[in-house]
Symmetry: C2
Subunit: 199 residues, 2 copies
DNA sequence: AACTTTATATTGACACTGTCTATATAATTG
DNA sequence: CAATTATATAGACAGTGTCAATATAAAGTT
């Protein structure tokens, strides 16, 4: 029999625990609540322990962001693969996945675009973001062939609109609860409009 | 002759100095560089002085955000007033003002939508944002009359697209310097596309 | 003018934060 | 078993926001 204890080191897989605790704190208290010391405390280790697994706070948050992009990539991938060939609503999948994620996990979504908290020059992060963009482009070309606008313009405009809508709503604008701007349309109305413009 | 000394109190107009210093630090170091203590130091007062003029850090940043929205409102107002009646490119003014501001003052633009740093429930802030939204709606109705989409859907979609494009670029995406996504279109190409879709 | 009240500024304290150092211990390697 | 590496601890330092106590300047009141 080999080792019955799968924990290779002192604590075991502290790295994973730190990640989970940090993600939980992100959802609850926002990125500001993800402090090295608080995460270490919740993980039951001293404040100096995390440095062995995450160089600094930024590295921890970057790891979380990367995992979220991975999740988004997989979700879009799965739903894209399940759809009929040359179905017209491929871009809708992209939009729905992004919006669902943004409204379900607002703090995670905000973190994705926080240049001060996340290292957007991280190679792995860039790679995942690239793949998501490629997925969108696939949706664009297959969904709306022969348009007068080039692929990139269309893809960027669409992503910008989806992102902008989520981000503005997370800022409190267009919020159903916020009556400052009444009659704000819902996300599907926005997408619907964009789709009709292309039809 | 009245009082030759216009400084009514100890320091004079510390409130304005604090504001200016904070804005300058925002542009240079981002919102993270706008600390009460650093601002107080740069203003030449003790770290406890600012509380008499700004309740806390959030209040200071909210004041700055409000001033930026005021600037945007005025800029749009001026350019809208100078344009021909029922000119088709009224929405373009909105987009150009927003994008110019965002790319010129990235940290200011980011601050506008930072719910953790700015009190978006502030009545004055809401009022200015409302007015900007109304300006956009004016541009929408006068620029593209008789469309099949309701005014709010159109306005929100357009603002979302403009905001999303600026915000994504400030995150490092679509950056000309960042070659991860090549061939990213420029802002005017996005607006141009949106306009043509409506023509 | 003198007194009171208010506005403003200073100072010190407290509980946090990230990050660095030195130290200790566990796990692995030779 | 010895040496090396990986991991965890504890302490320190310079910051941070915010609060309380104190001091002073200005304005209001009598």
């Amino acid at each position: 029999m080999a080792k019955s204890k799968p924990t290779p080191f002192h604590h075991g897989d502290l790295k994973r625990v730190l990640f989970d605790v940090a993600l939980s704190r992100l959802d609850e208290h926002g990125a500001g609540g993800v402090t090295i010391r608080a995460v270490a405390k919740a993980a039951g280790v001293s404040h100096g322990a995390p440095v062995n697994h995450y160089r600094d706070r930024r590295a921890l948050l970057t790891a979380i962001a990367k995992a979220q992009f991975d999740t988004l990539l997989n979700e879009i991938d799965t739903k894209l693969a399940a759809i009929d060939h040359d179905h017209g609503s491929r871009i809708e999948i992209f939009a729905n996945v992004m919006m669902d994620f943004g409204f379900r996990y607002p703090h995670r979504y905000r973190l994705l675009w926080s240049a001060d908290l996340v290292d957007h020059a991280d190679a792995e992060l860039l790679s995942v973001m690239d793949k998501i963009y490629d997925q969108l482009c696939t949706g664009v070309t297959k969904g709306a062939p022969g348009r007068e606008f080039d692929k990139d313009t269309y893809a960027v405009a669409f992503w910008a609109m989806v992102h902008g809508y989520v981000d503005l709503r997370l800022s409190g604008m267009f919020e159903p609860l916020n009556d400052s701007i009444s009659g704000a349309p819902r996300g599907d109305a926005i997408i619907d409009m964009f789709k009709k413009l292309l039809a």
